[in-house]
């Protein structure tokens, strides 16, 4: 589990998995300043499925990296189960990442490892014994429909299959929430909808809190809520029926 605030005087009811307050990120390229995030406020309660919909370059990836404890914002705060990521040191951030499932647009699998080994990797990082992690990795690959592909290398798999391996890997450590950065960006629409079916099922049945970034309206429709994103700001929120 993710650490709760240590200070017992700080009595606060934490109902949100993620809470973002006035988050800003400025990239400085020499003289030029790029405002990737210009003041984001959002709350994600447990079990939610949020789509962040916006055009390319609007800052979606930057936001997701901040939520995933991968990147530090310029100002504002990201609270995960009430703890401010800004107050954590490097090694605590690493601990946090272990409980966050990240699915990247470009799959980011390790090419020399098989599907099974890729899924096992986060488990071996947290010292899950060999037998246990193998069993769990096989089960996850079966869940995403790749039970017959476990010994294949990523290079021998299609885009959709790779993304499903990446999803299985993201789920390996029973994450507190799932972050997906354009998971369908590099796969065809039929495979994309198959993947989204798996994700919605996980959200509905296993109550996996999910935040998904996309620029595709059709894909965003799978979520419970859509946050419309532009130039580093949330323009409006839309609740799917």
């Amino acid at each position: 589990m993710i650490k709760k605030p240590k200070n017992s005087l700080e009595v606060r009811i934490i109902s949100n998995v993620i809470e973002v307050q006035d988050l800003k990120k400025v990239y400085s390229l020499g003289q030029v300043k790029v405002n990737a995030l210009s003041g984001i406020n959002m709350k994600v309660p447990s079990g939610d499925f949020v789509a962040i919909l916006g055009p390319s370059g609007s800052g979606k990836t930057t936001l997701l990296h901040s939520l995933g404890a991968l990147d530090k914002p310029t100002s504002g705060s990201v609270l995960i189960f009430g703890s401010d990521l800004a107050l954590l040191n490097d090694s605590q951030l690493t601990e946090f990442r272990r409980k966050i499932g990240f699915v990247f647009q470009f799959f980011n699998l390790i090419p020399r490892l098989t599907a099974l080994e890729n899924v096992e990797l986060p488990l071996s990082i947290v010292r899950v014994p060999k037998k246990v992690r193998r069993k769990r990795a096989i089960k996850l690959l079966e869940t995403v429909g790749l039970g017959d592909r476990i010994h294949h290398n990523p290079l021998e798999l299609s885009g959709g299959e790779r993304q499903r391996v990446a999803l299985a890997r993201a789920l390996a450590n029973k994450p507190d929430f799932l972050l997906m950065d354009e998971p369908t960006g590099n796969i065809d629409s039929k495979t994309a909808s198959e993947l989204l079916e798996i994700i919605t099922t996980l959200n509905r049945e296993n109550l996996v809190t999910t935040i998904m970034v996309t620029h595709d309206h059709e894909i965003a429709k799978y979520a419970k809520r859509i946050l419309h994103f532009k130039d580093g700001l949330i323009l409006k929120e839309e609740v799917n029926s």
Binding site: G68, D71, E95, F102, L121, R127
Partner: protein
Amino acid sequence: MFLSDIISYAIGSIQRRKVRKGLALLGVTIGIAAIISLGSLSQGFRGIVAMQFEQGFSSDTIILTTGSLDFLNTESDFELYVNDTELIDQIDNVSLSVALIQKNCFVHLGDEELLLPVIGVDFSRYKELFPNTFLTQSGSISDFPTNNTVILGKRVIDPWNNGTLLGTISDEINITFTTRDGFNVENKTYTGNIEGILDEIGGSTIGGPTDMGIYIPISHAIKFFDTTRCETILVKLVESNEQTIKSTSDSIEDLFAGQVQVVTPTSIINAISEIVTTIELFLIGVSAISLVVAGVGIMNIMLTSIMERTREIGILKSIGMKKEVVILIFLSEALIIGILGSIFGIIVGGFLAIAVDEFGLLTGLASGTKETFIGEVSISPIFNSGLLIGSVIFGLIVSIIFGLYPAWRAAKLDPVEALRYE
């Protein structure tokens, strides 16, 4: 992450870049092989030198010479004479002294003509001094030899060490000594009679019998060489404690007004040890440098590999791998290369050293010492555990040191930057 998982992850990535990592490994192998082969050969050299002196020379014998014991012979003007032994015999603690007249002569034996050292010596005293090596395998050494009595070392009669003998007991041997008086070069020849052939000795020691030596009675040597000058006087003491050796050497030096060198066996061994140590250090230093070069090779390859694997490192960090573990992964890659390189290096270096010995590649060096007091040596490698362990440890230290920087570079990569890397 479990250590076993870290190691198998590292092995996996080494296997992926076989050629490149193989080259890094080759570098370490060469470095270690150089240390092992040169180290074992120089230790073998040291061993042989020490052994020869211990065998052939009891520590109660000291040597008097006018020459210098350096490899660079600087001749002294001072001269020793055969009858100096009479003076030396009177010194306290001296039990016996033997003068040696040694000249190189052309020797005609069978159908061969050879240039060999001919040594004039008092047979009975020499026997007393070297009871274990001045021994015949055939014939005998008379205490009252005649003028043409000749005793041969084993290799003189059997020069190729293959049983083809140039002669046998009672055969004649012609010894020719060449002198020069101004422009007048004169050959003097006499015909000796082989009365004894020595047992094979193997090595040789200063003043001691050698397999290449030809021994004639001292009285005849004085006549034939027309001199009473001698190069060396060997002095046997009544006991071998340091104090006796020291005080007797001092008395002898006083006798000759400090103009002679008094050499004790320990001082020879020490002098040689010093030379061998210097050579050894030089050789090991050279091979150590080659190992450091190999280390730079490891670093180069690791840095290239980290560039290529930037994205992989980003992935590992984004799924929660700690910095320390990233360091360990890359360090173990370097270390595995170091360990394998050391193992291969020991094998290759061992074979190299043995091959050098087997194929006699060092006979040049070995026979180069033939004319010196060390005598002819053959060098066989000695592999002691200190050398093996030391070189492996050094190999590992080098690979750790040169692996550390790349590993640290990998670990400090920013995950977001790394993931963005194409």
